[in-house]
Subunit: 122 residues, 2 copies
């Protein structure tokens, strides 16, 4: 039986390409936060999102949402309410990002503890 080579050059290059692809799709200061929120809440209005993500401006939010919609990670639905509202919802495909978001969250949480324990000993 041929031994599986972890460092097979082609596999390594392909892996790096895949990583680049993912990172590029989630590039920009806010996309991960938006996805993170929508993975959690499933669907939100424009203003709810704006309130939920402190610091983001309307322009940025609208731009990032457009890009996420283009990549089919979220859907945009105009609701026929009195003052018109727009609902942004995560797609099943967008939900496949959940493991990434979860890993980012748990790592960040542990990192906080790590910082505490190392700076406390100074």
């Amino acid at each position: 039986m041929k031994k599986k080579l972890i460092h097979e050059p082609a596999a390594c290059a392909g892996r790096m390409l895949a990583i680049r692809d993912t990172v590029e799709l989630l590039s920009g200061k806010w996309k991960i936060q938006i996805i993170g929120t929508l993975v959690f809440e499933n669907s939100m209005k424009f203003m709810e999102l704006k309130r939920n993500i402190p610091g983001i401006g309307a322009k940025m939010l609208s731009k990032e949402l457009q890009e996420l919609e283009i990549n089919q990670l979220i859907t945009r639905t105009v609701c026929d309410t009195k003052p018109i509202t727009v609902e942004y919802k995560i797609t099943p495909y967008g939900l496949t990002l959940e493991p990434i978001i979860a890993e980012l969250a748990t790592w960040g949480t542990n990192h906080r503890k790590h910082l505490f324990s190392t700076t406390a000993s100074n």
Copy 2:
């Protein structure tokens, strides 16, 4: 027994903070690629890294490596070879990023297939 509330506001905000922390630590065009390479290869020289990450310039590489070192994700060791070489190595702490890198890689790989199957039907 009290039911665990996923949407507990404090937990949600903390989770978003954790995500921001992680993303910020890995911000920049190249850090994830560098970490990805070092998680895979364990240790590399400066020039090896430069060759392995197509497109990166010396300035960027050096800057990103410094930042990663500050955050204790990698170590920098000057080797006493004839033309001096510097070895960059992932730390045990840096290795804890492996799950994130792995998720990014698998998602990116699946995304390629997803793109194929949707554009092929056009």
